[in-house]
Amino acid sequence: MAAPLVLVVLAAVTVRAALYRSSLAVFIAERVEVASPLNAWKRVVEGLALLDLGVSPYSGAIFHETPLIIYLFHFLIEYAELVFMITDVLTAVALYLAIQDFNKVVFKKQKLLIELDKYAPDVAELIQTPMEMHYIPLKVALFYLLNPYTVMSCVAKSTCAINNSVIAFFILATIKGSAFLSAVFLALATYQSLYPLTLFAPALLYLLQRQFIPIKLKSKGFWLYTMQYASLYLCSLVVIICLSFFLLNSWDFIPSVYGFILSVPDLTPNIGLFWYFFAEMFEHFSLFFVCVFQINVFFYTIPLAIKLKEHPMFFMFVQLAIISIFKSYPTVGDIALYMAFLPVWSHLYRFLRNIFILSCVLIFCSFLFPVLWHLWIYAGSANSNFYYAITLTFNIGQILLISDYFYAFLRREYYLTHGLHLTRQDGTEAMLVLK
């Protein structure tokens, strides 16, 4: 499997290199869908230039990256393109290895459940076979590397690629079972963009499952492990934050990075839901609504954890999607990360109900974004409502995609345990609905 992966990597690198050299690079780098105030490359360069002039980069409202990024790019700024290409490749390789291991786990679990007779007799066609699972890791790497969103994000040199890479390593570490590394990478991911905090729950559930610790609230083993993992995570987070203090000898980065993410002062249009709402809101309501919107991101963790406690990887996927939809400054790079996981659930295809409409919506909206931006900003014949309409439609498409996959997943689980041909009490055919 190494050779096809190398081929895919080569193809991806070629595409990116070609785009870097073309005139599209500048155009893509300026697009608001790809570069947000949090991760635009222009701002990184600006911050480093300010640092060279002796001014703290956090003194204005330009630079919202973490000190570790400053350190990274201080030495690598001339090789920025190479850095981003390598980052993408590393992400793809990490995802590849992670999904490879995950497939083994899935297969093992499946075998166990079959031997324990937990499955209904007529569900042979629903069971995943190693043959069809063989190509999934390659498909995941392919989906990530050759996704136009990822390519655009890389060409724009948006630091979202670095965040994706850290999350990919976190997923790899979680699947391999190393709680320490998983906590470290999760701390790094949270340190950079705060929202991966919600990925703590799926990772914890996965590690508990791997250690065969049952998830019962009264069990001492559960709480012990949870405390261990949580303390690893929090300690590494605290250590990283304290280390960042020593880069510039100031705590300026905390309001600039986390204050900025949480209070959303910059209302530049992007593909998210925050900007329009807060642009038209009265000031005395904005605090309330900022809190509501931010709680919305973190809110789904507990219910999903309760429902999907047996399936932590799916939970991780749904949580990643929720982060990229509801975060304060999303970009297409965030979307590319969770879309890379879609091949893992390709066995759910027969249960997806709206996949055609949703893929059409997503593709059309992606094309309409630059059109309506041009109409609004350059031609002047549209206004922000038009662009926000496309943003809304795009996000609705994503939300429906995730809920479709959620429904399909739960339906398959139900069929596995209750058989494919469901009948009601009087013998007629029954239909499964998600209530």
């Binding site: 640092l51 201080h74 590394l181 020593f246 880069l247």
Partner: protein, 396 residues
């Protein structure tokens, strides 16, 4: 009889004395009257009059603003200011508006009694040319060289200028053409520019809009008198609609000002205090306001025709005056000095040579050593925790 003659002589002498006294008094009075007249001659320091009349609203239902402006135009022209000294800015054409049932007319009184749009109305800024920018350029004189003379305010420091503005306004602003506004601060600054450029001697500012008094609140240049049709927080109301034309023909304040002005003729001695009394609250519903604290003369002494008319001061005299020239004072105050012979060089402010040969700046900032040490220590610790110490033997 001999006693009557000396008495008669004394009587005649007394009568003569009285007559002399009377004559003296009369002479004194006459001299005093001449004195007054002479004083009055030099009372106002202006030699010419200008008028800038601005209507800022467009659309048919703002007919009354155009009628307002044209009424003031009519009065001002009638009292002597020529078209060459009037800058008339009308934001819309009511006379030839397709909705005008009486084309080529603009009436200012119901029953169509007074047509203020005659044959000789010269509109200088029409339709979309009436913008805040053009208005301010007219006032301050900062006009492109291609502007025709009729569109310029060529006033000097002996000009009295009447500025009349009407339209829709609010607290601190006046709306132009439904798309932009001029604020009271801008207007005050424009007047200050005019003062500093010596473009007026005295200025009378009249505004007929809602909350008009807010527009003159910010004036700070000397010799400005301002009148407004309503105070801040009040609306200026329109007079009566004409059912034949279908719109309100005039605003109340200007209607009563026009009535007042119809009685003025070029020789009137009516003063500004009478203008302040025009349109009390019972007639106008809003409370007109005025501001005279920046004006140096007493409004009592300011004639209406000082601003609304163009009264030439002519004094006919039969005396001959000789104008002496102080020859001594005209001696050249500048002794012939030797001019500097060496040509003045442009100072070398820009060291071009240095810039061309500048080396690229070194990066001055480096991450502190403690940070790098801490970071790599952490990375090594994570590495060894993951892979175990026993791998160290492969390193060494």
């Amino acid at each position: 009889m001999a006693a009557a003659v000396p008495g008669g002589a004394r009587g005649r002498a007394a009568a003569a004395l009285l007559l002399l006294l009377l004559l003296g008094c009369c002479g004194a009075a006459a001299a005093g009257g001449l004195q007054d007249q002479a004083e009055q001659f030099f009372r106002s320091g202006h030699t010419n009059n200008w008028a800038v009349l601005v209507c800022t609203s467009r659309f048919w239902f703002n007919y009354r603003h155009v009628a307002n402006t044209l009424s003031v135009y009519r009065s001002v022209k009638r009292l002597g200011i020529p078209d060459s000294h009037i800058v008339l800015m009308l934001a819309d054409d009511m006379a030839c508006n397709p909705r005008n049932p009486k084309p080529a007319t603009v009436f200012s009184h119901k029953n169509m009694e007074l047509n203020v749009y005659g044959d000789d109305v010269e509109v200088d800024y029409r339709s979309y040319e009436v913008t805040v920018e053009n208005f301010l350029r007219v006032l301050t004189g900062r006009i492109p060289p291609s502007t025709p003379r009729s569109k310029r305010l060529l006033s000097d420091d002996r000009s009295n200028i009447l500025i009349y503005m009407t339209g829709h306004g609010g607290n601190g602003f006046l709306k132009f053409q439904d798309s932009e506004e001029i604020t009271n601060v801008e207007l005050a600054d424009a007047f200050e520019q005019m003062w500093q450029k010596r473009r007026y001697n005295e200025l009378l500012f009249i505004i007929d809009t809602c909350q008009g008094a807010s527009m003159y609140e910010r004036f700070y240049s000397p010799n400005i008198m301002a009148l407004a049709s309503s105070q801040v927080g009040e609306d200026s109301l329109s007079h009566q609609p004409d059912l034949g034309i279908g719109v309100h023909l005039m605003d109340r304040y200007t209607f009563y000002v026009l009535e007042f002005l119809e009685e003025i003729h070029p020789a009137s001695q009516t003063n500004m205090n009478d203008l302040f009394q025009v349109c009390p609250k019972s007639l106008c519903v809003s409370t007109p306001g005025h501001r005279t604290d920046l004006f140096q003369r007493d409004p009592q002494n300011v004639l209406i025709t000082d601003f609304f008319g163009s009264v030439r001061k002519v004094e006919i005299t039969t005396e001959a005056l000789s104008l002496d020239r102080d020859v001594a004072g005209f001696e050249s105050k500048f002794p012939e000095e030797e001019l500097a012979t060496e040509p003045l060089k442009y100072a070398e402010q820009l060291p071009v040579a240095q810039i061309i040969h500048q080396k690229p700046k070194q990066k001055d900032w480096h991450p502190p050593g403690g940070f790098i040490l801490g970071l790599w220590a952490l990375i090594i610790m994570v590495f060894f925790k993951t892979y175990g110490i026993k791998h160290m033997k492969h390193v060494f």
